[in-house]
């Protein structure tokens, strides 16, 4: 008979949400166990990606002194609208981005998350890796009182559990916090390659003066063959992260291999020169929950809270996720600390977690863009039509044809109305506005 292992709080999952929750709770005096199924925190994690320092600063005010392993600060960012043979770029570069620490950095998760996990261990979190949580343990009243793991005698107990299990939220589903699995029309499958390119070449290609500059670009249109989704190209320290994300339902509908879309994108005449001579260092894939505000699970029940991807905390429009996750983890942690002070772990008491989040950008942004996923789903032609149009219009605008400019302008207008009726354009814009304004 083994003794019952009991903690003040258990966190499931060593990603940004779970680590933020664990760090917050330990700092609040709780004895915290964090369980991670990978060989190390971050082993299973994969993103574009860009990290935002405001969130880190809320978890660890002295994070900069702890030397986070960022790749490059983002000093230039924007959108490329790609057609089959051309591109229109909307880029923003500013001296305002040149701060130390910068507002955002490109990062690689298998470096970043172990670093954050080390900070958690340093402040006193007990981190157990290589251990999968199989289920929540509940008492006779259905309250969560611990978790069972795949270790021998692997049951552990705590009056409060923070589930930060990631996009494949099996525990969240088992608890009945959401009554269905992820809907494929609101889930993007993203595949990415990290391609090594010597820093000197990289900087020359992207017009960067040093390692203190970096670019983050989101790319629409031909990159995803007109399917709802986007591609991205981010500069890392000595290489790029390049990938595509497309709604899973679209890939299934068209029987398309995601890595062939990526290969096609890498082969695009605009993209290819950036990758010349690069060495593919790693390939991977991840789901992005774009279920939005109305598709989120319940965030808490008796003895349990959910944070991060598991709760659908992704702002797909602004490619934000890890920052939402960290802020949610922090508030889940603070709520758990208060629950200990009041000795009340009921779902009703823990609902202050949700109320706290409602006051932050996390739920405010998710709420504002609650119709955006529907917009993309109901307007799948949007990207394709307008991206193609913008490129054709640009070509006419910038070419000298020996025709009067008024004719050129009329030609552009006809191009527009040929692709989509004026009424259709009006509808698209209204829908877009509705999606953006909430």
């Amino acid at each position: 008979m083994s003794t019952k292992l009991t903690y003040d709080a258990i966190v499931v999952g060593g990603g940004p949400a779970g680590l933020a929750a664990a760090i917050t709770m330990v700092k609040g005096g709780l004895k915290v166990l964090l369980i991670e199924r990978g060989r190390f925190a971050g082993a299973k994690n994969f993103f574009g990606g860009v990290m935002y320092t405001h969130a880190l600063a809320e978890i660890l005010p002295d994070y900069w002194d702890r030397r986070p392993p960022f790749e490059r600060p983002v000093t230039e960012q924007g959108y490329w609208m790609l057609s089959a043979d051309s591109v229109v770029r909307i880029m923003h570069k500013s001296e305002q981005y040149r701060k130390t620490p910068a507002g955002s950095y490109t990062a690689l998760r298998a470096k970043m998350d172990p670093w954050l996990a080390q900070q958690a261990v340093d402040v006193g979190v007990l981190l157990i890796t290589k251990t999968a949580v199989l289920d929540c343990i509940r008492d006779e009243k259905g309250r969560v009182i611990g978790v069972s793991t795949d270790r021998p005698d692997g049951d552990v107990y705590a009056p409060v559990v923070v589930i930060a299990e990631g996009v494949n939220n099996l525990l969240t589903q088992k608890l009945g916090l959401i009554n269905h699995d992820l809907p494929p029309q609101y889930i993007a499958l993203s595949v990415k390659e990290h391609i090594g390119i010597p820093a000197k070449d990289l900087q020359a290609r992207f017009n960067l003066s040093s390692a203190d500059e970096g670019v983050a670009v989101d790319i629409f249109g031909d990159a995803t063959m007109g399917m709802p989704g986007l591609a991205f190209l981010y500069t890392d320290r000595a290489g790029v992260s390049i990938g595509i994300g497309v709604l899973l339902s679209e890939l299934a509908r068209h029987n398309i291999k995601p890595y062939e879309i990526l290969a096609r994108f890498k082969n695009h005449p605009v993209i290819k020169p950036y990758l010349e001579g690069g060495e593919s260092l790693e390939y991977g894939a991840h789901l992005i929950p774009e279920t939005g505000y109305d598709g989120m699970p319940k965030l808490m029940a008796d003895g349990v809270m959910v944070a991060g991807d598991a709760a659908g905390m992704v702002d797909a429009l602004h490619r934000e996720g890890t920052n939402l996750a960290m802020i949610a983890g922090k508030y889940a942690g603070e709520t758990a600390i208060e629950a200990h002070h009041q000795n009340n772990f009921s779902g009703e008491f823990l609902s202050s977690y949700r109320r706290r989040l409602q006051k932050t950008f996390v739920l405010k942004d998710l709420k504002q863009y609650r119709h955006l996923a529907e917009f993309l789903e109901s307007t799948p032609h949007f990207m394709d039509t307008y991206v193609g149009l913008v490129n054709e219009a640009a070509l006419r605008y910038f070419s000298a044809h020996g025709i009067p400019k008024r004719e050129m302008e009329n030609g552009i207008f006809r191009l527009l109305t040929k692709k989509r009726s004026l009424f259709g354009i009006g509808q698209d814009m209204l829908k877009l506005l509705r999606g953006m304004r909430g």
Partner: protein, 111 residues
């Protein structure tokens, strides 16, 4: 959600895809394979036999699913990167998807 709003991809557009041998991509991925436990299984091969499009053969980013001459779906779980697409994307929800045992499966070097 309406099916009709989606344009089918034209054959010309599809023809621009660049063929890839997924094994070449996966060579860069680090795994700790669990030889004793397959974390992904087909629930009912009979359901797959009636599936006309077999989207799993294509959308799986690691090419885990293959089909043999008899039309049986083969699961090469060892190559799985644990994204969850098959669990969610199978039109018949016919994939039994579990977490690999702790410490097994993919372990990204860069992520």
């Amino acid at each position: 959600m309406s099916e009709t709003k989606f344009k089918p991809l034209s054959a010309e557009v599809k023809a621009t895809l660049v063929p890839v041998n997924v094994d070449d991509l996966l060579a860069s991925v680090k795994y700790y394979v669990d030889e004793e436990y397959a974390h992904i299984k087909i629930k009912d091969q009979g359901v797959c036999a009636h599936c006309e499009t077999h989207p799993c053969l294509d959308f799986c980013p690691a090419g885990v699913f293959n089909i043999d001459r008899q039309g049986k779906i083969l699961v090469g779980y060892q190559a799985c990167v644990e994204c969850g697409s098959c669990r969610v994307g199978c039109p018949y929800r016919n994939v039994d998807w579990n977490l690999p045992r702790g410490g097994h499966g993919v372990a990204y070097k860069f992520g």
